[in-house]
Symmetry: C2
Subunit: 211 residues, 2 copies
């Protein structure tokens, strides 16, 4: 995360830097992002950059955490509107993300971000970590009270965590694909909803039925 110094920066200077960062991340994929470019654009000396950020990844984390904050807000709204439907929440988040990302000014920026495999994974890891069984991070933690647990077939204390453990990578994959695949949004979204349905009902036949 950026240093205290960064946040203390006079607004103007900080904004110019942030803009430069946004521009550079829009120009090329994360892998190719160059600190040199950024400082040139922002007109700050090299040394200053390292006073604010640890390195390239540090910037990335900052950018992603921004997005994550937004996500959290939307997740809450979705849950409140839909009686705590966990599946609907995931779908809403999917839709929101797609919409946000395709906004003109965010387009190139996010395309590059999501396009880069390493970023995508960082993002997954980020969330996966937070939703991990042990470290039940803030993200899910805050949502927990709003989720309708009664709809879920929870038989022991691990089940809920594990459900998330399935939903998260699945959703992450849908994100990646949505910005990569030629097949486009409609197609990916269809697949994603189909998969959510599969999760709801289970993969095996003859659940209730006796042979």
């Amino acid at each position: 995360m950026p240093t205290k110094t960064f946040f203390n920066l006079p607004e103007e200077k900080r904004n110019k830097l942030l803009e430069a960062i946004h521009e550079e991340f829009s120009r090329v994929s994360f892998e190719e992002v160059s600190i040199n470019q950024i400082i040139r654009m922002a007109g700050i000396p090299r040394g200053s950059f390292y006073q604010y950020f640890e390195d390239k990844k540090d910037m990335l984390r900052y950018l992603l955490s921004d997005y994550q904050e937004m996500l959290k807000g939307h997740a809450l709204v979705s849950l409140e509107r839909n009686g705590g439907d966990l599946f609907q929440m995931f779908l809403d988040i999917f839709d929101f993300t797609y919409g946000y990302v395709t906004e003109e000014k965010n387009n190139a920026f996010f395309k590059n971000l999501f396009a880069d495999i390493s970023v995508n994974a960082e993002f997954l890891r980020h969330r996966a970590h937070k939703a991990g069984q042990n470290t039940f991070g803030e993200f899910i933690g805050e949502l927990l009270p709003y989720i309708d647990m009664d709809a879920l077939d929870i038989r022991n204390e691990d089940d809920f965590g594990n459900m998330l453990g399935v939903l998260l990578p699945l959703t992450g994959e849908a994100f990646t694909t949505a910005f990569f695949d030629i097949s486009g949004y409609a197609q990916i979204r269809l697949r994603y909803t189909q998969r959510l349905e599969l999760l709801k009902r289970g993969f095996l036949k003859a659940k209730g039925a006796k042979t």
Copy 2:
């Protein structure tokens, strides 16, 4: 993929190069892998390297495809042994991978490989692509006839593809975590099996039961 020239190399020279690659990938994570180091170790001139590989990623793809070949073999064996049980196959692959990776000589190598988020994602993408709904690649294609479809609750032509679409990212995540998480193999494996069980039975209550 490596060029034809690479495969035509006299065995001795090629092996020396492969060894150097293995060593470098064991030394640091993919991100830090240096072609300079490799050519120094292998004692080949810079230009030669680029005669064999396109770049760093090209090497990576080669290494991963190797592993993938192995996987395929094990998947087949598993299916044959277990009456085409898809879930058991995934679990077997998980176990095999863990075992293989923890072999002394592969340990550092794979740890670095899996530890690097970008590699991991590349690997996921790789597989995800092959199992994608449209491009039903060789991997799954070859396994298809061995899978016991009757056990699965398949209601339309998309269902099977979508089941894989859930299983693949889930398994990928399990791999990543297994080599990262402090909690260790037993813990991760337990979680993975729990999640497979959840997939089998479905997340929602009251499936057969009428309200």
